[in-house]
């Protein structure tokens, strides 16, 4: 690809220092992310899967400039962001926006929906108040809510609707990149389908680059073109989605795939015991 990658990670690592637990020992270090290198092309739907604590959220926070890597470089649209102080990242806030996991806690319960959606605009001083109002109304309609939702508070909406509000907020500054951290993990299946459809639609409609994090392999499979499998802070495998699901290279990936209960397989007679046996087998293969 000759194009500049939208996001480019070069040997990115992030360490956390835990509190000292023994007087005599040095405080333990957690390598939440280590040596992650990847390029994400414009328009790509890039997925990251991994189990709890594998460092997915930490990586995302660094990509969004909410945290700084201990080592390595992060470039967004060719511009390094890993060393910039927050106040110099205004442009990034406009180019890149976030959708979070928890539809309860990602919206300030004490703000009106209109103000929530307008927040990125206010934060970056985009438009006049009237223009912002118009944009908010437009966005709300776009994500399938009525414009008068702007006057209400988040608790007056259901989980799925709240996730729509989150998406509307993310779209407000007209970003090029949408970063989603487990956006459907907390939702019921019926609503999950609605939100996944919406994401699909806006990524297409707005020509976005999508970085999508989940621990659910089937969701990632449904959404993404390319997937990175993360374990203990590392990318163990990066591959186009279908290839990964059909022909996983890394044993850990195979282990993950083996462990996912699948409806069709279950109906075909695969019991929990078999599922466990396959998982164990994949684990043993790895070690």
């Amino acid at each position: 690809m000759s194009e500049t990658p939208t996001i480019s990670l070069r040997g990115v690592g992030r360490d956390f220092h835990r509190a000292r637990t023994r007087l005599t020992e040095r405080p333990p270090v957690v390598h939440a992310v280590r040596d992650v290198t990847v390029d994400i092309a414009p328009g790509e739907r890039f997925g990251i899967v991994g189990e709890s604590g594998s460092g997915k959220s930490t990586l995302l926070r660094m990509i969004c400039g909410l945290d700084r890597p201990t080592t390595g470089e992060i470039l967004v649209e060719g511009t390094p962001i890993h060393a910039s102080p927050p106040r110099r990242l205004g442009w990034l806030r406009q180019r890149l926006q976030l959708v979070f996991q928890d539809p309860m806690s990602s919206l300030d319960p004490r703000m009106r929906v209109g103000d929530i959606v307008a927040e990125p605009l206010v934060g970056q001083r985009i438009g006049t108040p009237a223009e912002r109002r118009a944009r908010v109304a437009e966005l709300l309609e776009r994500v399938g809510l009525s414009a008068d939702a702007a006057k209400r508070y988040p608790h007056q909406f259901s989980g799925g609707q709240r996730q729509r509000i989150s998406v509307a907020r993310a779209l407000a500054p007209n970003p090029a990149v949408l970063v989603a951290d487990e956006p459907v993990s907390a939702l019921d299946v019926s609503v999950r389908a609605q939100v996944l459809n919406l994401l699909d639609e806006v990524v297409d409609g707005f020509d976005l680059t999508l970085v999508f994090v989940s621990h659910d392999l089937s969701v990632v499979r449904h959404v993404c073109d390319r997937v990175a499998v993360m374990r203990q802070g590392e990318f163990v495998e990066v591959a186009p989605t279908e290839q990964l699901y059909v022909d996983a290279q890394h044993p850990y990936t195979r282990q993950l795939l083996a462990a996912v209960p699948r409806l069709d397989a279950a109906l075909a007679g695969r019991t929990a015991t078999e599922l466990a046996a396959r998982t164990l087998a994949a684990t043993e293969e790895e070690t």
Partner: protein
């Protein structure tokens, strides 16, 4: 959040607080007798038609004193809580929003201040500036700062951990804007509850100081002072002690109930408790 139900504590506490505030306000335009005027009639009258709660040794109307004294009570509470909140809340938010040594330092300082209870500070202040209502309430206020700072900090830490704050940062809001738009509104409930409870504590502290002779000086209506003055005639005229005593207890009860009720009202977790 769901629907919120008024609870008994809130209603009863609110009613008591409203009555006290009402009395204080009315006392500015009307009192049954001239406020604090001595020698209006005979001393030590028991409650009667003209002097609803009797008279004291200075031949003052007790009811008038109670009414006017409610101002002192509210005044003490307001200033003490005001001082505590104005300092404690920003300190708490600052401590929560600065993760490094600054936050630690602020909280350690706070802990040290915690080692000076209200009464100790008040005695120390009274030693310097003499006993007066103002000194008492400022001392109480300063001693209350740590509890505000702590509660604000713990609330703010929770808010800072939420995804909407991360979203606001990703949206490019400055720390100040985040503190104002997100943190403060979301810890306001906690602070109001704390204020109500601190109010009650301030009233008690003022009464204790008045009892020690370090509180409100003579010539100003104050329940604590009335109680202090009534002591020497406890057996001859017990109502003179019981009435302000009951007023103090009622006010404290009111603010405590109000704070408790408010906490339940604002906390969805406690729904239906």
């Amino acid at each position: 959040m769901g629907r919120r139900r008024l609870n008994a504590s809130l209603v009863i506490g609110g009613a008591i607080v409203a009555v006290i505030v009402g009395l204080a306000l009315i006392s500015y335009v009307w009192t049954p007798h001239p406020p604090m005027k001595v020698l209006v009639t005979e001393a030590y009258q028991t409650p009667n038609g003209e002097f609803w709660l009797g008279t004291d040794k200075f031949r003052r109307d007790v009811f008038t004193q109670i009414v006017v004294g409610s101002r002192t009570t509210l005044y003490v509470g307001l200033v003490a809580v005001g001082v505590a909140a104005v300092v404690g809340v920003p300190v708490g938010i600052l401590a929560a929003m600065s993760p490094g040594w600054l936050g630690q330092l602020v909280m350690r300082g706070n802990d040290i201040l915690l080692a000076f209870p209200a009464l100790l500070l008040a005695i120390m202040f009274a030693a310097i500036y003499g006993g007066s209502t103002r000194v008492a309430m400022i001392a109480i206020g300063i001693a209350t700062i740590p509890s505000f700072a702590r509660i604000t900090r713990s609330g703010a830490l929770q808010v800072m951990g939420t995804e909407y704050v991360a979203a606001a940062r990703a949206a490019g809001r400055s720390p100040l804007a985040i503190a104002r738009r997100h943190v403060l509104p979301n810890v306001a409930g906690l602070i109001i509850v704390q204020a109500s409870v601190s109010f009650a504590i301030a009233i008690l502290a003022e009464a204790a100081l008045a009892y020690l002779g370090l509180g409100t000086p003579t010539g100003q209506a104050s329940w604590g002072r009335m109680l202090y003055e009534a002591q020497s005639t406890l057996r001859a005229a017990p109502h003179l002690a019981l009435i302000p005593g009951a007023a103090i207890a009622l006010a404290v009860l009111g603010f405590n109930l109000f704070g408790d009720g408010l906490r339940d009202y604002l906390d969805p977790k406690l729904e239906g408790r």
